[in-house]
Symmetry: C2
Subunit: 179 residues, 2 copies
């Protein structure tokens, strides 16, 4: 335990990532472990938050990728093609095909062929699909609010802002980086 004070309220010493960083420092002293403190934590937060987020979904028998797909249809408000859905949910076309098959069987979405271009399909929510999204979403958000309440509102705002800045840059420029 490197943490100096009896209180464990030390800003960044109480998580697993800082323990990992300390281990690396012991093995490779002087290594610039700065990036780990952000990337490691982002990954770990994502894992934990997803796990928490999934609880409300399982009750509805939906996986998160499925819910993402339904959510994309709900929030855009209009029909989307499978390709649109792939872009909107950041997943591959093949994955969308599979999910659509299951969601169609469950009666949550419907498909119709385009009249002009017979390659493309249009997908829309059924009434049942819209209801399930509208039922889960508030529950989901309430749960998320509870989980995040471990940070006071001011810090939540700061965190959201910094993440937004980072994300904006990453989304804009990541394609430009080549190893």
């Amino acid at each position: 335990m490197t943490a100096p004070n009896g209180r464990q309220a030390d800003a960044t010493g109480g998580d697993t990532v800082s323990a990992v960083v300390r281990q690396w420092q012991a093995v490779h002293p002087g290594l610039d472990t700065g990036p780990m403190e952000i990337i490691g934590r982002v990954n770990r937060c994502a894992a934990l938050l997803q796990q928490a987020e999934d609880a409300p979904l399982r009750r509805a028998g939906l996986s998160r990728p499925e819910f993402d797909l339904l959510g994309a249809l709900r929030r855009t408000g209009h029909e989307l093609t499978p390709g649109d859905l792939a872009r909107e949910t950041f997943s591959s076309g093949a994955a969308v095909t599979k999910r659509l098959k299951q969601l169609t069987e469950r009666g949550l979405v419907e498909r119709r062929g385009d009249t002009r271009d017979r390659r493309v399909a249009h997908v829309r929510l059924t009434d049942a699909g819209r209801e399930i999204v509208d039922g889960i979403l508030p529950e989901q958000l309430a749960y998320e609010t509870a989980v995040l309440s471990v940070l006071d509102p001011h810090r939540q705002g700061e965190l959201a802002g910094l993440l937004g800045e980072l994300l904006g840059q990453l989304e804009g420029r990541l394609g430009a980086l080549r190893a």
Copy 2:
């Protein structure tokens, strides 16, 4: 397209998450979308950063879960059992078994049985395994540093601090939350 992009330099309006939030607000006005601005961004950042992180690994023919396993052995400095590795890498025992099989075949780790308790195995890095970790890690960190340099150092520090605080709380208390 809701994004009015003559210029996209607005603090938190330039990422996909804020676009999604605007869509939800249009459909469900007044919904508290606050949590999305953190959780959505954490998830998306994790996805993009991982994708970036994987590039240096692929050159060595390793997946990130495999590298995590090797890294756990390297940074602890001593042998670990499969169970230890599972805990250390936040994955299931079955997954560890599979990875160990492959890494052993590639000659990056070795196993030996415990002399006292013949259920347990002890895993250690081979010389080749240690070399591959020590070769990749600085490269990995340099790459991460480059990716993160879109944020100035001060903000990187703030972000790391806030994430550490959140993560510390989540790791401490998430088990206690029940849906």
